[in-house]
């Protein structure tokens, strides 16, 4: 049970007592809230008294009469705005004066309630204002967490960028100090590893560029009817040098209309990521099958490999930023940990879906469905 603190500001003791009676033991519950809300009521007879209380006690809701003996309701409201208290104000007006109500809502009051009111009216107003407050606070919390996620992303990113620098610097120092003697051949492994780490860094930077373009939304999208068969073929051509090394055979199968209204660059990113994964995580002499299937209202892309596969546990993680599945089989494979997260975000932009089926040591299939508009 959560408790909201309501400050009732009214110079008429009868009104204050009435509100106390109506809201005492009143409970608000919503399906989307974890807990029910009850209310703790605090009274103030004047604006001055109200301000004293606001400065010392945590108040969530203010029921504020406008006509008060000293400073009036609007002045209290102005003070509340000035201090930027985290609360909602509901004005109570003796007679429903439209001007006053407008003034008050302009100055930040959540709403107003004309006097006299029935207990039902008061309760339904309290329902609304509690819900409003809850949503406002939840939104703010989520925004703050969004920033937190951003910060985590950056700290992991800097770690991912700094690790290869450290590794390469370490190797260069070992060479500088001739730690393995004077023969250049004895440094082959270090040179190979340095080049591999540089390559990894380059890929990470490319992936980051993709991500930045997408997240900033600044990249101009050029939507036109493109043939995904061509895009798939380009992705296969790009991976060919690598697939030859592993003796992996890639095959493209099409069924029906393979045209889709889309941005060619974005489709390339999707295909490049999925096809390169299918080759990278394959076994020697493995297969990669790419299917493009016309489903009338959508186009279905399936990319299947006969590779190392993943456990269900791993499958749940792979679309997150910087996630790389670490085990003895993936040890020698480089990757930024961003490819699939980018792919997923890209597919989301097309209101599409991506599903994964995987079995350890048997292979993995990614099924992408992109709707036609």
């Amino acid at each position: 049970m959560a408790t909201l603190h309501i400050l009732v500001v009214d110079d008429e003791p009868g009104i204050r007592a009435g509100i106390n009676r109506i809201l005492h033991n009143y409970i608000v519950s919503y399906p989307f809230m974890d807990e029910d809300i009850d209310f703790n009521l605090i009274d103030a007879a004047t604006g001055e008294e109200a301000i004293d209380i606001l400065n010392t006690a945590p108040i969530d809701i203010v029921l504020l009469d406008n006509k008060l003996p000293g400073m009036d309701g609007i002045e209290v409201l102005e003070y509340i705005n000035q201090q930027q208290f985290d609360l909602a104000v509901m004005m109570i007006t003796s007679y429903a004066s439209l001007d006053l109500a407008l003034d008050a809502t302009k100055s930040g009051a959540y709403n107003f309630m004309p006097k006299p009111f029935t207990s039902q009216e008061l309760r339904s107003n309290i329902d609304n204002v509690s819900k409003h407050l809850f949503l406002k606070r939840m939104t703010r919390k989520m925004q703050a967490e969004g920033k937190q996620i951003r910060f985590q992303f950056l700290s992991v990113l800097s770690h991912e960028l700094k690790s290869p620098i450290n590794a390469i610097e370490g190797y260069l120092k070992m060479m500088q100090e001739r730690q393995m003697g004077d023969l250049i051949n004895d440094y082959d492994r270090m040179i190979d590893r340095s080049l591999a780490r540089l390559n990894g860094m380059r890929n990470l930077i490319m992936d980051l560029l993709d991500l930045t373009k997408m997240e900033s939304g600044k990249k101009e999208r050029k939507l036109r009817e493109i043939n995904l068969q061509t895009i798939a073929q380009t992705a296969m051509d790009t991976m060919e040098p690598y697939s030859i090394q592993k003796n992996v055979t890639m095959k493209l199968h099409t069924d029906g209309n393979t045209y889709l209204l889309a941005d060619a660059d974005e489709m390339e990113i999707i295909f490049n990521n999925l096809v390169s994964n299918a080759v990278k995580y394959n076994k020697e002499n493995g297969l990669v099958d790419i299917y493009l299937k016309d489903k009338n209202n959508s186009l279905e892309i399936t990319i299947s490999d006969t590779g190392i596969g993943m456990s269900q546990q791993d499958v749940e993680l792979i679309f997150k930023d910087f996630v790389r599945i670490k085990n003895s089989k993936t040890k020698a494979i480089t990757g930024s940990g961003l490819g699939l997260s980018i792919t997923k975000k890209m597919i989301d932009q097309y209101n599409g879906t991506i599903d994964v089926q995987s079995q350890l040591d048997v292979g993995t299939s990614f099924v992408v469905s992109l709707p036609r508009h």
Binding site: V156, H159, K162, S163, N166, A167, G170, M174, R193, K326
Partner: protein
């Protein structure tokens, strides 16, 4: 002083850094065992008691090093532990072992930034091994 070479366990998920550290520590005259993850290190610790461990902070999780250090300290309370990481400067993780509060929850004897020079590392290891 023992004639036996002391055994040092090195744990880091960056195979290149691990290789470099291994080379450095071997050159300092120690025996070395390596592990590439928190899990692998825990397996090693089940059967072997190193004289000292040097543990990377961010491995499977960003705090794997702390967890490993905690478990290692529980199993071998007298084994010195060094946590090494490139983390501080860029992540905003700010910790040191100078305050009692941090000493309480970070079960390590020393926190080192990666990129340490061989002679510095030698000095720190000797200090902890009381050589």
């Amino acid at each position: 002083m023992n004639d036996e070479k002391k055994l040092i366990l090195l744990v880091d998920d960056d195979v290149d850094y691990l290789f470099q550290l291994e080379t450095m520590v071997k050159n300092l005259g120690f025996n070395v065992m390596t592990a590439e993850s928190q899990m692998e290190a825990e397996k090693v610790l089940e059967t072997t008691k190193p004289d000292l461990s040097i543990i990377d902070l961010m491995m499977e999780q960003e705090d794997s090093g702390f967890i490993l250090a905690y478990r290692a300290r529980k199993k071998y309370p007298d084994m010195p532990i060094i946590i090494a990481s490139a983390a501080t400067a860029e992540t905003g993780y700010n910790f040191d072992l100078y305050t009692d509060n941090n000493k309480n929850w970070i079960k390590a004897d020393l926190y080192l930034e990666k990129g340490i020079r061989s002679d510095q590392l030698h000095r720190e290891i000797n200090k902890l091994l009381k050589i």
